[in-house]
């Protein structure tokens, strides 16, 4: 068990990778064995993530130096900088890891019955596992270039998955937009890495953070990194790809591509807080993040209101919800250099933003899955052509109600808790921002009421008289997320104290992250 914990960080990345390489071979033998392999791998990854999380909350940051003679030998003997790639998992990384592993598991179970109706299942599952690898690798690595590599794995597998239903022209369009944005974004990040390399001859995040001089070149690199990550996480004004991609991605992959964009949000936070930290002129950068957040919130929700395609509607809401996270964490960033304000409301705002990531991943994932369930049974995503589905698809409509209430911030659901944390703390920073956030929440509720009413209530349409409930694996996938949402709604205090606050502190305490690698040099 001890050995397993010591190697868990790399196993979480390497095991799904091995499974991805194995899937094409196994599926030549048996399709059933392939499905079992994929599910078993993801269950095992979830298990590893949980034991690693336990270890991190007990013993602090987990370090794994690849290829050295010992995992903790971050810097070669008699030398002063790290040379090898180091995996550095702190409370924030593992927080994102928990999200990725859980949502991927639910989404994969959901996808099984979908794949019975489609060709190309082998490739689909391989890409699914690679997407998981990309997310987890991006979250766990402590090396800039390694982060770029995992970002590319995530982008390419995500784009291929989005274009999976090649019989539709818009699927290809969604996939193509995603890969173009990703390719440009990743190259911009690579350029920024080159700038760091030219100044410090380092690639490790902790070592770079320690060496950071905040010169003009560093400012340029920060601007490039922030731009690229904002592009990847679909923040306004670079959000145009998101609705197109999310609305065409098949089955359980929409939540996963969405979680992948949240992994890029993690990349942005890691850059701002850990790489630059207090050397940064945090008030300015914080305000930029806040403005992007508020714009995303507002533009996302106003675009969502008049959508008739159910998945597009949800995609715009996804953009809008990302705004809350940017707002919460942006307030924390803006007051990072001011310990008093940070203690009185900054930390609270950040916790709210970070708590919102996991809440949103859960209910947004659930909503995307219900939308895909509607498409699976009805063959259309157009809300105007639906109606009366609550009789035929009881469970799906219950899941939709729970998700919709949670996203609109109705008490007692988990969305309410995190939004309340954001409202309260942001109000003390700047009341106007808080009012805008509340307004957006009300419009969200209106929009989802409309969507629910269009799809589920009203008279049953004759052409959908024989529509049945979706198959069991789909219900299980949605059920897992619903149970977690209900758990989170019942015990918000427990969740905030046990996983959210450690993640917030991990972002704030830059020195701890640096010392874990540099050993207080």
């Amino acid at each position: 068990m001890h050995t397993l914990v010591a190697h868990s960080a790399i196993l979480i990345i390497a095991i799904p990778l091995l499974a991805a390489f194995l899937t094409p071979l196994i599926s030549r033998v048996s399709k059933k064995a392939r499905d079992i392999l994929v599910i078993a791998t993801l269950v095992f990854v979830e298990f590893l993530v949980i034991i690693l999380a336990k270890d991190i909350y007990l013993n602090g940051i987990h370090i794994y130096t690849l290829g050295a003679s010992s995992p903790s030998l971050t810097i070669p003997e008699h030398y002063m900088v790290p040379v090898r790639i180091i995996l550095e998992v702190d409370a924030m990384s593992i927080f994102m890891g928990i999200i990725s592993a859980t949502v991927s598991l639910a989404a994969t179970i959901y996808s099984i019955s979908f794949m019975k109706e489609e060709t190309g299942g082998d490739r689909f599952y391989t890409l699914l596992l690679l997407l998981v690898v990309g997310m987890l690798g991006l979250e766990f690595t402590g090396d800039m270039f390694n982060m770029f590599v995992f970002l590319e794995i995530l982008s390419i597998s995500g784009a291929a998955l989005a274009a999976f239903r090649t019989r539709f022209a818009d699927a290809l369009e969604g996939g193509f937009k995603y890969i173009v944005i990703s390719a440009v974004g990743a190259l911009v990040i690579l350029f920024a890495i080159g700038i760091f390399y030219s100044q410090y001859n380092l690639l490790n995040i902790a070592a770079l953070a320690q060496a950071m001089q905040y010169t003009m070149l560093d400012k340029i690199a920060l601007a490039l990194l922030a731009m690229a990550f904002t592009m990847k996480l679909a923040g306004v004004p670079m959000h145009m790809w998101a609705p197109d991609t999310y609305s065409v991605a098949p089955a359980g992959t929409t939540p996963m591509i969405y979680i992948a964009s949240q992994a890029c949000l993690y990349g942005l936070f890691r850059t701002c807080f850990t790489l630059y930290g207090v050397t940064l002129n945090t008030a300015t950068i914080g305000w930029i993040v806040i403005i992007i957040g508020v714009l995303s919130m507002f533009v996302g929700v106003t675009m969502a209101v008049h959508q008739s395609d159910v998945k597009r509607l949800m995609a715009y809401h996804a953009i809008s919800q990302s705004g809350y996270m940017l707002l919460g964490v942006g307030v924390g960033l803006a007051v990072l250099g001011n310990p008093e304000a940070l203690a009185s409301y900054g930390r609270e705002a950040m916790s709210g933003g970070i708590f919102h990531i996991i809440n949103n991943a859960l209910y947004k994932g659930l909503l995307f899955l219900t939308a895909e369930a509607l498409f699976f049974r009805l063959g259309t995503r157009d809300l105007n052509k639906m109606g009366g589905m609550c009789r035929n698809m009881k469970y799906t409509s219950i899941f939709f109600i729970i998700g919709a209430l949670a996203i609109s911030g109705i008490p007692p659901f988990n969305g309410f808790t995190s939004k309340l944390m954001i409202y309260e703390s942001v109000y003390r920073f700047n009341p106007i921002l808080s009012v805008i956030a509340m307004l957006v929440s009300i419009i969200t509720l209106a929009s989802f009421t409309k969507a629910f009413q269009a799809a589920f209530t009203g008279p049953a349409l004759p052409q959908y008289k024989d529509v049945k409930e979706v198959p069991k694996p789909m219900l299980i996938g949605m059920g897992i997320l619903t149970i977690i949402i209900i758990f989170f709604s019942l015990f918000p205090g427990l969740i905030v104290n046990s996983i959210v606050n450690p993640a917030t502190d991990a972002l704030i305490n830059q020195a701890t992250y640096i010392n874990a690698v540099m050993g207080g040099l």
Partner: protein, 117 residues
């Protein structure tokens, strides 16, 4: 700012990246868009490889090596990775364009576009 005249390789990088971004923003033909991304990639690769050059350096390989300082090996490794990634991305993008062409009969980004708003 000393040695600005010797920074011509970096200016070449700036030129390549600038041209590439211009192409990406201005072109409507999807193939040309991919060309733009490929040029951008070349620009970034050139940037990485020029970072590692040491004046009068030799290749960092000890097999029958002459005397002299060696250039930095890490940027070369990074460039190798970046090139392979570029190949992978380009292949996928071109396949998507081929399939889009089959569906819509056009590779103009405005005409083959289905989704708006």
């Amino acid at each position: 700012m000393t040695g600005t005249i010797f920074n011509i390789p970096f200016l070449a990088v700036a030129a390549l990246v600038g041209i590439a971004l211009y192409i990406i923003i201005s072109q409507r033909n999807l193939i040309k868009l991919v060309m733009g991304i490929t040029i951008l990639e070349s620009g970034v690769n050139l940037f990485l490889i020029t970072l590692g050059y040491r004046a009068a350096g030799i290749a960092p390989i000890y097999t029958n090596a002459p005397e002299g300082v060696m250039v930095l090996p890490v940027p070369q490794a990074l460039t190798l990775t970046s090139i392979v990634i570029g190949v992978a991305t380009t292949a996928l993008m071109l396949s998507m364009i081929m399939l889009t062409y089959r569906h819509t009969g056009d590779i103009d980004s405005e005409k083959s576009r289905r989704m708006k708003g």
